[in-house]
Each structure stands twice: as C-alpha cells, then as structure tokens.
C-alpha cells in the first residue's frame, strides 16, 4: 500500500490554513479598494 508521506501531510494542512488566512486578508483589502473607489454596491 502506497501512503501519502508525512511531509505531504504537513504541507497540505499548513498550506490550507495559510491560504485560508490569506483569503480573509484578500477580502478585507478588496473591500477597502472598492470603498475608496466607491464601487462597493
């Protein structure tokens, strides 16, 4: 049975958490940009 390696496992989980955090930051920055340019709605 071929198994996923521990390194792959750790990169996958840590990468997912970092990407999720970056997603939140991106949304905040996008809203700031829309707000400054008066393009929210």
């Amino acid at each position: 049975m071929t198994l996923f390696s521990p390194v792959f496992f750790q990169v996958l989980i840590v990468g997912a958490l970092i990407l999720t955090a970056l997603g939140a930051i991106l949304l905040i920055l996008l809203l700031c940009s829309d707000f400054i340019n008066k393009r929210v709605w």
């Binding site: 198994l3 996958l12 989980i13 990468g15 955090a21 997603g23 949304l27 940009s33 929210v40």
Partner: protein, 483 residues
C-alpha cells in the same frame, strides 16, 4: 436528544443567538432601505462590486456541511476525502466565465429558470424547476436541521428551539433586506468563517503536532493515508460533478451573476473558488486529529465541533458556535432569497399572475421568503442527523443539469428535446445508481447519461438558436410610477 457534555452553557448560547439576531436583522433593515424596487430586492440593483461579490459566492458555498462533513469525509475517506471535498470549488471556477456570459446574454434576467424557459421551452423548464426546488428545499432543510443539531451539541439548546431561532433570524433579515442584506451579511460571515477556521486549526496544531497526528492515523487507520484508495477516487469524481451541477443549475449562483456589476462576475467567482479551495482541508483535518485527541463522538457529523471544543474548551465552543452560525446563516439566507426569486419570477409571475406589476411582485417576493421559511421549519421538525444522505440524494438530479446548462449557454445547436431528455434520463438513471450501487457514483452516472444524450441529440437534430431570445425586456413599471 440533548447533548449531555455541551461545553457552552445554554445561557451563553442563547446570548450569542440574540446578539447575532439583533445585529443581522438590524443590518437587514438598514440595507433594506436600498431594496425599494424589485431589481433592488431580488438582484441588489445589479451593481455589486468585487469584494462583496467574491465574499457572497464564497460564503454561500461554505455551508455548515463544509464545516461538519469535511471532517467526516476525512475520517471515512482519508486525505483523498478532504481533497475530494475541495473539488467542489471547481464549480465556482467553471462558473466564472459563465457568469460573464449570463450577464452579457441576459442583462435583465432574474433566475436560472428564465434561461431554461427561454432556451429550451416550458416542458424542460418545468422539469428543471422541480429539480431545483427539490434540491434547494433539501439543502435548506438540511441547513436548518444542522443548525438545531449544532446548537444542541455545543450549547445544549433543545434542537427545536435552536433550529427555529436560526430560521427565524435568517427569514427576518432576508425579508427586510432582500439580496442587499444577503450579500452584505455574507461578507461579514465569510471573514468570520475564514478567521475561525484558521484559529481552530492553528489551536489543534499547537496542542498536537501534525507529525503526531500522522503517526496516530498511520497506526490506527493506515488506509486513510492510502494514495490509491479506490472508493475515495470515486468520491472525487462524484463531488466534482455534484459541485458543477449545483453551481451551474442553482439560482443562488445565477442571481449573484445577475447582481454583480458588469465585468465583476468572472473575477469574483474565480477569487471565491480560490478562497474556498483550502477550507475543506483546513476543516477536514480536524477529523484526522480526532483519534489522537481521544474525542468521544456521539454522532459522526459532529467531529469538527467536538474536536474544536476539546482543544479550546470554552473559547473553542464560542468560536465554533460563531463559525457554524455564520456558515449556516450565509447558506440559509442565500437559499431563501434565491428560491424566493424562483417562486416569484418563475411560478408567480410566469404561471399564476402574468400581468403583475412590479409592486405586486415585490410583495410576492417577500411573502415567498416567509412561506419558504415556514415550509423548511415544518420539515425540520423531524430531526434527522444523516446530513450526508440528504445532501447526496439530490446529487444525480443536479448533475443531470450540467450539460443542458453549460452546453446551452455556449452552443446554439443544442436542441430542446435533447435537453429535456438529458434532464429526465440523467436524473432517473442517476437515482437508480444511487440506490442500486452507491451514493458516490450517482452524480457521475447522472452527468454521464445527460452528457451522452445532449451530444447525440445535438448531432442528430441541431437547432439554430438565436441568442437574442435570451434578452427579455425588463418588468413593466406600474403606470403610477411612470408619470
């Protein structure tokens, strides 16, 4: 059944519900001032920007199922289970260019039903509406049930009270604010969900290093780490196609495509897919950590909340409570608004009252939100924790819509009869596969049958569809407003 080991006192749970309720209903009333006309109420004035557009697509796709079922997928199907759940984001990626085309072809459109009616005629439209309304109701009921179960598990709030409160809050702010309130609250909810998932995941890693979690899974269930787990690979295809079908057909996504400012849709859906992609892994690994943490599960759906409360205690219970409340609300409000649009536009206006003025339609849209809430509440009174079954029973039905919609948007040769047959036969044979083989092949078979029928029927009898047919004129204004 009350959860005996709830870590959050019921009083705290009630306090959080009341705080959320007041804030969200207040926002609904505030944003509702913008939703004076039908276009404002149903599609937020068709001028939503990139930030809100991205957040609403992302938050709607993060349901309580994502938070609760992703860990369950990890326990059942291992690493492939989490990755399989991630493939649902591909639906958002593929819908991105479709959103642009929808906005271009149907500048005055309101629903996906409008597209099917104009593209394929009334018979296919009727079948499509049955599929979509069935699926949307099933999803809505599963969300309401999930809300009742989670509040019961985390805070010991009786199932019926929790379920009723979540539905009531969502119905009120959707009723008052329409699509403006749905999209505005979705933005706040998406930030809450993402930060909450990162906080809980980070806390688990602090308490239990990832290496230890890996070793524990390797010792107890090495199959979960298997690169070639056959059932998991089937789950990937099933989830992928289910995601395509759900996003392509459901008015939730179409109404947002109509709501976004011209040119925003393609960027917003792409970014929403990127934001959504890591969440099933970030939430799903809680399932793999449950064994190492010795979490005692009463129901398998609850593995995520149980791990969060085990690791973070009182604070974890509050965080997971808020995250799940936000994920529930962001889906329930979208389902209420989008299904209300379908009932108002496709049933009330097109079938029951074709001469209705905009003011009458605006009132009807509000009434249908209330009626939908009541239907969901009634169906949710019978508690059923088998969320997976409710979710995937509709899988083959929605998978059968992929080809008629995607091909119909880009390929003018697809004909009416072929689309109708694809919807009916894809759904029927997919359901047979669901019961005769396994749930995780049902969507695959439903989509495959639908594809074959669309391709063969188009080859045999190509249609020459005029795209201008899709550009219907906007609703007539009542005469009094025109003077």
């Amino acid at each position: 059944m009350d959860y005996q080991s709830a870590v959050l006192p019921a009083a705290t749970g009630w306090l959080l519900i009341v705080l959320f309720g007041v804030a969200w209903v207040g926002l609904g009333l505030y944003w509702g001032r913008k939703a004076r006309d039908l276009s404002g109420y149903m599609v937020a004035g068709r001028n939503v920007g990139l930030a809100l557009g991205t957040a609403t697509a992302m938050a709607t796709w993060v349901t309580s199922n994502t938070i609760m079922l992703a860990p369950l997928f990890a326990i059942q199907f291992g690493i492939w289970g989490m990755l399989a759940y991630c493939t649902a984001s591909f639906g958002l990626f593929l819908f991105a260019p479709m959103a642009r085309r929808i906005r271009h072809l149907m500048p005055n459109g309101f629903t996906s039903g409008d597209f099917i009616r104009l593209r394929y005629g009334t018979t296919a439209w009727a079948v499509f509406l049955v599929i979509m309304i069935f699926y949307s109701l099933a999803w809505l009921v599963s969300m309401a049930m999930a809300g009742g179960i989670v509040l019961n598990t985390v805070a010991g709030i009786p199932y019926h009270y929790g379920m009723s409160m979540i539905l009531l809050i969502c119905v009120l702010y959707t009723l008052f604010g329409g699509m403006y309130a749905v999209i505005g609250t979705d933005y706040i909810q998406s930030i809450i969900i993402m930060l909450g998932v990162v906080l809980v995941g980070g806390a688990v890693m602090t308490v239990l290093p990832l290496g230890e979690i890996y070793e524990s899974v390797l010792f107890e269930q090495p199959a979960l780490l298997n690169v070639l787990l056959p059932a998991s690979i089937m789950v990937i295809f099933n989830n992928l196609l289910f995601g395509f079908g759900e996003v392509f057909h459901n008015n939730i996504w179409w109404s947002r495509a109509f709501a976004m400012r011209k040119g925003v849709g393609i960027k917003a859906y792409t970014l929403a897919g990127l934001c959504w992609l890591p969440i099933p892994v970030a939430a799903g690994f809680l399932g793999l950590a449950s064994g190492s943490l010795g979490v005692n599960l009463t129901t398998p759906d609850m593995v995520g909340p149980a791990v969060a409360t085990q690791v973070l205690g009182f604070a974890g219970a509050i965080v997971i409570f808020i995250v799940i409340f936000a994920s529930l609300a962001s889906s329930i409000d979208s389902l209420l608004a989008a299904t209300s649009d379908i009932l108002t536009e496709d049933i009330f206006r097109r079938v029951l009252y074709p001469t209705a003025t905009e003011a009458v339609l605006r009132k009807a849209a509000g009434m249908t939100v209330i009626v939908l809430g009541l239907i969901a509440w009634t169906l949710s009174l019978w508690q059923d924790s088998g969320l997976l079954q409710v979710l995937f029973f509709a899988g083959p039905l929605v998978a059968s819509t992929i080809w008629p919609i995607a091909a119909g948007l880009y390929w003018k040769r697809v004909n009416r009869m072929g689309a109708l047959l694809a919807l009916v036969a894809g759904s029927a044979i997919g359901l047979v596969a669901y019961f005769m083989i396994a749930w995780y092949v049902a969507s695959l078979i439903g989509a495959a049958v639908s594809m074959v029928i669309v391709l063969i029927s188009t080859w045999l009898a190509p249609q020459d569809f005029d795209w201008k047919t899709l550009n219907e004129q906007p609703h007539r204004q009542p005469e009094a407003n025109l003077i």
